[in-house]
């Protein structure tokens, strides 16, 4: 096993482990913090795949913004007993069904991925990924880019309207 593989294994362990923690933890704050770790693990995987810029975007948006938003929201809507804030569904049937479904999904999807011959090609390490991205964003994908901008505007307007609530009379 070379260094790359070892790092991959480590990152995979961190990512999956913390993701499992997110769904397993009974304390929603712990879940949220483990979620940050998951995000960082995924960011690590991006670095591992020479996608440094995306990795940093991941850290900034997921780690620095989304997680904080989530934790913030959690603290605003907190129950008194943190240990019981993130209990799974009370119905055992639903949980078993969930496990069954997910295992099935993973096996089926995993098998189909494993047995597929992918059109692999080791692309040259792209030294200037950001320029390429910028060219794509403002070139071929300018429509998507502009729409994404509007999407963010919509989200901001919507979040303010919803979080602010109805006018008090």
């Amino acid at each position: 096993m070379n260094l790359n593989d070892a790092v991959f294994m480590l990152l995979a362990l961190i990512t999956l482990g913390s993701a499992l923690g997110v769904v397993a933890s009974k304390n929603i704050v712990h879940s949220a913090l483990l979620l940050v770790l998951t995000f960082l693990g995924v960011a690590g995987l991006y670095f591992q795949m020479n996608a440094g810029f995306i990795g940093l975007v991941q850290i900034l948006i997921y780690g620095g913004a989304i997680s904080v938003l989530i934790i913030f929201a959690i603290m605003l809507v907190m129950d008194v007993e943190p240990e019981k804030t993130n209990l799974p569904s009370p119905s055992l049937g639903r949980r078993l069904w969930g496990v069954y479904l997910v295992v099935l999904l993973i096996i089926a999807l995993g098998a189909s991925i494993w047995y597929t011959k992918w059109p692999l090609a080791i692309s040259a390490v792209n030294s200037d990924e950001m320029t390429a991205l910028a060219d794509l964003m403002l070139g071929k994908y300018v429509v998507a880019f502009e729409v994404a901008a509007i999407l963010l505007l919509v989200a901001v307007v919507g979040a303010i309207i919803l979080a602010k609530g109805a006018d008090d009379k």
């Binding site: 189909s112 071929k140 300018v142 729409v147 919803l162």
Partner: protein
Amino acid sequence: MNYSLLAPEMLIALTGLLLLISGLILAGRGQRLVGIISVVLLVAVLLLVVVRFSESAVFFNGVYQVDTFANFFKALFLIAAVLVMLSAGKYTQRFEQKQSEFYALMVFATLGMMVMAAAGDLITIYIGLELMTVSFYILTAYLLNDEASSEAGLKYLILGAISSAILLFGMSLLFALSGTTVISEIAGQVSRQPALIAGIILMIVGFGFKIAAVPFHMWAPDIYQGAPIPVTTYLAVGSKAAAFAALLRIFMIALPPGQFNWSLVLAILAAITIIVGNLIALNQTNVKRMLAYSSIAQAGYILAGLVAANAYGLKGVLFYAMLYVFCNTGAFAVATAVETDTGSTDRVAFNALGKRSPMLAAIMTVCLLSLAGIPPMAGFAGKFYLFSGAIQAGYLWLAFIGLLMSMISVYYYLLVAKAMYIGESDREDIIDIKLPARFALWVCLLATILIGVYPAPLSNLAQTAIQMFL
């Protein structure tokens, strides 16, 4: 590349921004103007789309396409938006100072749909889809003091996000196999591999959520019931049509049915959707919820057209989507009027509508019958196309189920008619309908009947729009 062909999208985006800004300027009673402004602007854009209907262009190597298919759907979304806004006039007054944002969000949702219909690339489709759904999340929860509305919004958001994730996973597999996200290039690149099956299934599941096909439908009734009615209308009509537009483009061009056998999966999905949607609708007492289940069933019918994947079927999809705009908007507009008047959409609220407002009752009846596919309403012609396609493609059983269930569906539609015409109500006063809503209702009524009696023009339009798939 003739960028002026992107004018409709740009103008819609500007309209939305203008509405947001006008919300700052037009405070207080001025908010009422916002509705008028948005309708006028949307009609202008609609005219632009119609005038330049047959002009087409491919932008950025196929990433974005302006063609008759896209234009057909753009016109559809704009018509739906205008009708909804017209019929919503009185209802939106309860949003008080947030009317301009309401209209702006509707406009942005329309933009998302338009982008979805015209996108020739997975990324752009996804972004358009998300603009549409995020706008709808907010709109669904727009009744800020109403618990049901917030609840509906949250449920929609959660299920919408899940379905987006599933859809994306499917797209990523397709992307991985073909090495491209441009739909027109995928067809030549993709090979038959196990992962392709997984990808197709995941995408079907993802889109299944968006069009509320059974068994991915559970969100629809709740959301339709909880959301403000104009939003429900637009959701049922517009977002569904947009999802179908994207579905058609991806499945017909990237995965041509001649090479990849996805039609059986969709056929089963369509059959289950039709059956379950109609059967559950049978014992609904809330008209909004009944219409929600019926719209699930309608999605099943439309899906049958895609299953057929031939001229009749695809034409049927477009044809049906368009007529669905009119009859569903009509039905919901009546429901809006009733809810504004009585505060409820239970079936009993429709009692004696035939006396209180014969026009509303007649329009409701006509629209519901169109949904059921009874001639001479438009729904019949639409179903004729859809199921002709299905039979031509060898799916006789699907046509059989579809037609049988659509006749059974008459039962619950007629229950509403019954309530309207022989139901007893202690209120005898005439329901007051504002002029714009009246206009929208008449448009729905006339269009529903006209398309039903003389479907040729619309069917020709649909024919030109689907030419590229054949």
